[in-house]
Amino acid sequence: MQNDEESVTILLAEDDDGHAKLVQERLEGVGVANPVMRFKDGQETWDFLSGTGIANGKAYLLLLDIRMPGLDGVEVLRRVKTDARLKTMPVIMLTTTDDPREISLCYELGCNNYLTKPVEFEKFAEVVKRLGLFLMILRVDKFK
């Protein structure tokens, strides 16, 4: 929020353009000015994460849609959480369902939060905002 050096980059994995736009709008709406990088699907996300995209000395927050064609969110989460370099990255799952089984599965895999997509985007923005504060307090680890 202060400067780019300091701010956390939000990685948004969302296949639906509308949803991606809405998430970005809501983030902006609640004053989250962090840079956002959007990926169209799971594979693209994972290519970025596993490739050279992650810059050292930067902090990232991953927002993962569960239902995506190809690699789905759950699979990306599993890869992130089993990757030594990536496993400390905070992950918030975005989903259209509140299926308790999916929720518990994601928590088991190590997601930090779980948000149901539709409904009130105000509530969503609130969560992200709190998350942002939370991130600041905890000082999200920067990649080295």
Partner: protein, 1133 residues
């Protein structure tokens, strides 16, 4: 004197010469006399032996022609044992009477029929040979002497006995065994008095030997055992056997020199020798000769004296006369002495001092001392002191009284009679003279007679039969104890007073009849009824013999009597019993001869008709007096008296017959009814069936009701005997067995028929497999199921497997092998190998067959056609699978759909919200500035402030509503996808937690919840919790505001399930909607009320069904609703 001495010498010389002449002459005479005597004796004995043999042969012939014996034997042979007692009596009488050793009736094969106790079956060669000859020739025969099995000499006599006593084939042979010691040897031995020392020998040629047949004086037990070679020189016995007849001097069996007479005995193989030892016979002769020599010398001296006296006569004339007289006296004495020497009588003279003056020579033998030692001695020197004292006393008495006395004395075991008398000579002391006769033989004979008499008495008294003597005028002369007690008397005196005709015979004429028979034939046997002392009648068997004196005059009657009352009764009973057995045998044969049971029953009834010679034999069913009707399943009748005629047709039961049946059932054995007796024929039977006598018995086969079995006599009023009743009872028993079999077989046939029917209906066939023999047995239905030809025999096991498809055959084979090894039966569904037709299925079940030791010998079981069931099952399985697939598809569809529906909805909602935000921003800016042309300004403001917000609002509301719907659908679909984990649920506790969680909601609604007993169930606890929450939530949501909400939750066990009842007093559900409440999104329309999502009840239903339960509702609008939730009960832990 010299002259006189010369005369003396001369006289002596003459005397000596005379002496030697006399001796030679005398010896010759003596030898001639002995020879003559021996020959006479010999001839006499031979005659006697011949006569004895003849006598035995005649006797034997007589017995052979004995008429009554033939009769008796014929009866005995016809019925062994029937005449045994009589024959035995006859034998023992005859044996005793004739002095035989033993007698026996022998079969022509030599077996003993009846014998006296002493009889030992002859095994000796002689015996057997002679027996064989007698049987063959049919003529009586006397054997030679032989030694029996115990080495005793015997003679046997065989008389073949023919049936009528007139010859003809022999029924049997009467064998008589004679002990030669008693009957024959005495004949040989007894010798005339003079030749007491002589011995008679009977001999027989035995090969090259002479066999001595009788007992010898000088050799113990020689008879038939002692023999000498025929070549023994100068052996008289050998001479006799060589055919010599006459006098023979030789050496006897001891080698002693003997005189003998020999001869063969005509018509026998025997030789007879009568011999006397030379030394012995001549000893007295020599003694006499010497005595005589002495006498002659004495006579010579006397002559000399006489001569001398003549010389002196001139001187003493008178004295000469006296001397002559004395010489005469001497002569007389001489003669007397001569007589005495030869006399068998002992003669004695004693002087007044009782000293023997003269004794006959035989005293030497009697006393055992030479005469010289006896003469002049006192009695006590000669005889034992007792005897001598008696003799002296007797003698003195004789002398004193001068009378003749006769005495009996015993000395050295022999008996003597002595006659003593005094002889008084003038001027001399009185002599005592006398003679003694040896009476030992007579005495012994008398003793023997006495003993025999005693023996006879003993036999007479101790006999088991009554023995008696009666006089011709009808009195009892004597009767033994047995006879007396038989008649019930005690003392013999009582019996002797009886008049036979008056007191003994039941029919006095019997006596005349019997006597005429006995008088004519000499003896008779008969049965006669007599009276006892008590007046009681007694049937007796008697044998009466007329006893005649030597002149043939009737003296008295001798008889044997036996009480045969009991024997007769026993015989009658035996005859009855034999008849009974014969009749039962006929029944048994009629049973055995039948090939099937109906025929057998017919045979039995026919046989019964014959045995009883009655008019009808019938079976009657049932033997039940209370039965409304009866039938006659079987009857056999004589043609002139047909019976019921209609067989096996129900006829109404007349009361009369019912009475008979009741009596038959109450009775242990057959009941009899006879017209005109105390137990008459009932009216119905008498009139309708013309029965005059009836016998009925109830039969109790082991199955079904009792039967009645009976006989009818229509020809006459027959009184059934005890035996007949017993026979019918026994036949009834056999018939009962037959009936049991008949009924059982009929039942079995029906049962088999039913089994076949059942198998046909159930399409079950049964089979049995004997593993060792590899034979299969199949029922008719089995053939049908397998589509096989019932006329074909089942093949072996391996062949039969071809009936199945390969998979099924392998399955079955494995199961069969395991069953044979372990005894574990199988149940398999098997597919039959079908050629063209659609496949068929059977269920095969097995059962193990074991032998007694428990070893598995085979299998049996059933095969049921389950093709239809199998096909139905397959269809259901397919349908179920399809359905499950569909369900899964539906679930997935629902899940995916709801998810995918949500995605665009998020955009709609999200962007609508964004749009609302942008619009609010736009409206705010619109109030601040005027940027539009005036003519557009109003329209812009209208659009921005009214139209767009209105449209946006519709979009937002609708999208929110859609979100709610999709969320609900998601829930429902998720409920379908949740996996249930059933466990035992304590409902009381669970409900408490549910109520706790809902407390606020319930309190707000003012609801009162009552819970009753809640049995545990088995279900997923989360699901149960949710469904109860939903139901209670519904109760709260749809409560009637006008009254306080009351909810009751109770439960009960019903069958294997728990049924929970949740009732409320809410607004209720309209009847038309009751079916729709389970549909998703059904909501009861109510104004002004908060409505639910519309998925509560469908969720509940899904949850209940997922847990294997069910749910239904009852409701009345305005009154309340009751939900019944049914779940499986908790399992016992």
């Amino acid at each position: 004197m010299t002259r006189s001495f010369g005369v003396l010498l001369l006289t002596l010389a003459a005397a000596l010469a005379v002496c030697f002449f006399v001796r030679a002459h005398y010896l010759r005479d003596a030898t001639e006399n002995i020879a003559a005597s021996l020959q006479t004796i010999n001839a006499y004995k031979a005659e006697e032996i011949v006569s004895w043999v003849g006598q035995q042969e005649r006797e034997s012939a007589r017995l052979s022609r004995h008429p009554f014996l033939g009769e008796l034997i014929a009866q005995e042979l016809a019925r062994p044992g029937s005449r045994r007692a009589q024959l035995k009596t006859w034998l023992s009488d005859h044996t005793t009477q004739k002095g035989y050793f033993a007698m026996a009736f022998l079969s022509t094969r030599g077996d003993v029929i009846v014998a006296t106790p002493d009889y030992v079956p002859g095994t000796e060669r002689t015996f057997k040979k002679a027996f064989g000859q007698a049987v063959k020739a049919g003529k009586p025969l006397l054997t030679d002497l032989y030694l029996d099995a115990r080495n005793r000499p015997r003679i046997a006599m065989f008389s073949p006995i023919s049936a009528n006593g007139k010859g003809g084939p022999a029924l049997c042979v009467l064998g008589i065994v004679i002990d030669p010691h008693t009957d024959f040897y005495p004949l040989v031995r007894a010798a005339p008095l003079l030749f007491a020392k002589a011995e008679t020998l009977l001999v027989r040629k035995e090969g090259a030997s002479v066999l001595f047949l009788n007992e010898l004086d000088h050799r113990e037990g020689a008879a038939l055992k002692f023999s000498l070679p025929l070549s023994t020189p100068l052996l008289p016995a050998a001479e006799a056997l060589k055919g010599r007849t006459g006098y023979f001097e030789g050496f006897d069996y001891r080698g002693k020199e003997v005189f003998s007479a020999v001869r063969p005995i005509p018509r026998t193989p025997w030789g007879l020798v009568t011999k006397i030892e030379r030394r012995e016979v001549l000893a007295p002769v020599n003694a006499q000769i010497y005595l005589r020599l002495a006498l002659i010398l004495l006579a010579a001296l006397i002559l000399y004296v006489a001569f001398y006296a003549v010389l002196l006569a001139r001187e003493r004339a008178a004295r000469e006369r006296i001397e002559n007289a004395e010489a005469a006296l001497h002569m007389s004495e001489q003669i007397f002495r001569e007589f005495m020497e030869h006399s068998p009588i002992y003669v004695f003279f004693k002087d007044e001092k009782i000293r023997p003056l003269h004794l006959s020579r035989n005293y030497e033998k009697m006393i055992g001392r030479p005469l010289e030692e006896l003469l002049g001695r006192s009695m006590d020197e000669i005889f034992p002191s007792d005897l001598s004292r008696k003799i002296v006393a007797d003698d003195l008495k004789v002398l004193k009284e001068g009378k003749e006395v006769t005495l009996e004395e015993e000395f050295n075991g022999r008996f003597y009679t002595t006659i003593k008398f005094p002889i008084t000579l003038k001027g001399k002391p009185t002599y005592l003279a006398g003679y003694t006769i040896d009476i030992t033989e007579r005495k012994l004979a008398e003793e023997a007679l006495r003993k025999s008499e005693e023996k006879y008495r003993a036999i007479f008294e101790e006999s088991f039969d009554g023995l008696f003597l009666t006089s011709p005028d009808g009195k009892i002369l004597d009767m033994n104890k047995k006879g007396i007690s038989m008649f019930g008397y005690v003392a013999k005196e009582e019996v002797l007073k009886l008049e036979l005709k008056r007191d003994v015979y039941v029919d006095p004429q019997d006596r005349d009849r019997i006597l005429s028979m006995v008088n004519a034939k000499g003896a008779a046997e008969y049965e006669v009824e007599v009276k006892k002392k008590s007046g009681e009648h007694m049937l007796t068997h008697c044998a009466l013999t007329a006893v005649k004196d030597g002149a043939g005059r009737l003296m008295f009657y001798r008889g044997i009597i036996r009480d045969i009352t009991d024997a007769k009764r026993a015989e009658q009973e035996r005859t009855a019993h034999i008849r009974f057995l014969e009749d039962m045998d006929k029944i048994n044969r009629s049973i055995l001869s039948a090939t099937d049971l109906e025929k057998m029953m017919g045979n039995i009834l026919n046989t019964v008709l014959k045995i009883f010679d009655c008019d009808r034999v019938w079976l009657f069913y049932p033997c039940d007096p209370d039965a409304p009707s009866f039938r006659v399943p079987m009857e056999v009748t004589k043609p002139e008296y047909p019976g019921a005629k209609v067989l096996n047709v129900d006829l109404p039961m007349p009361p009369d017959m019912a009475k008979d049946l009741r009596e038959a059932l109450d009775s242990d054995g057959p009941r009899t009814y006879t017209a005109g007796t105390a137990s008459p024929i009932n009216k119905e039977t008498a009139e309708h069936f013309g029965v005059k006598s009836q016998m009925v018995t109830a039969l109790y086969p082991k199955r079904g009701k009792p039967w009645a079995f009976g006989l009818h006599q229509c020809s006459h009023a027959r009184v059934w005997t005890r035996e007949e009743i017993r026979l019918l009872q026994e036949i009834g028993r056999r018939l009962t067995d037959a009936l049991t079999s008949l009924v059982s077989i009929r039942d079995l046939r029906e049962s088999e028929q039913r089994l076949r029917e059942a198998q046909r209906l159930a399409k079950i066939g049964n089979w049995e497999w004997d593993a060792a023999a590899d034979t299969l047995k199949w029922s008719a239905e089995y053939y049908r199921i397998y589509g096989l030809d019932p006329s074909q025999r089942p093949p072996g096991y391996s062949e039969h497997l071809k009936a199945y498809t390969r998979e099924s055959a392998a399955l079955l084979d494995t199961a069969v092998k395991r069953n044979m090894e372990t005894g574990e039966p199988y149940q398999l569904d098997l597919e039959l190998a079908a050629k063209d037709a659609p496949s068929r299925w059977i269920t095969a079940r097995s059962e193990t067959i074991r032998d007694r030791s428990g070893k598995i010998t085979g299998l049996r079981g059933t095969a049921q056609d389950i093709t239809e069931r199998k096909l139905a099952e397959l269809r259901i399985e397919t349908l179920n699978r399809e359905m499950a697939d569909k369900n899964q598809e539906m679930e997935n569809f629902l899940y995916i759909t709801t998810h995918d529906l949500r995605s665009p909805l998020v955009n709609i909602q999200g962007f609508s919200q964004s749009l609302a935000g942008y619009l609010a921003e736009f409206q705010k800016m619109l109030g601040d500035v005027r940027v539009f042309a005036p003519k557009n300004d109003a329209r812009v403001r209208e659009l921005a402030l009214a139209k767009v917000p209105e449209a946006l609002d519709f979009i937002l509301v609708s999208s929110r509503k859609m979100d709610v719907l999709i969320t609900a659908l998601l829930k429902v679909s998720r409920a379908g996808r949740i996996e249930m984990k059933p466990e035992n649920v304590e409902m009381g506790e669970l409900l408490r937690k549910v109520l706790d969680a809902m407390r606020f909601q319930l309190q707000e609604a003012g609801a009162a919840v009552k819970t009753g007993a809640l049995p545990p169930c088995k279900a997923d606890p989360g699901a149960v919790s949710q469904l109860f929450t939903n139901l209670l939530d519904n109760a709260v949501k749809y409560r009637d505001e006008s009254r306080k909400l009351e909810v009751q939750v109770t439960g009960e066990l019903r069958g294997g399930r728990v049924v929970y009842r949740i009732s409320d007093n809410g607004s209720g559900i309209p009847e038309k909607d009751l079916d729709r409440i389970w549909n998703v999104f059904y909501r009861h329309e109510r104004s002004g009320r908060k409505n639910g999502e519309g998925i509560g009840l469908p969720m509940v239903r899904r949850l209940v069904e997922k847990n294997g339960g069910g749910i239904r509702a009852e409701s009345r609008e305005g009154q309340g609703t009751v939900f019944y939730v049914e779940l499986p009960t908790a399992e016992e832990v």
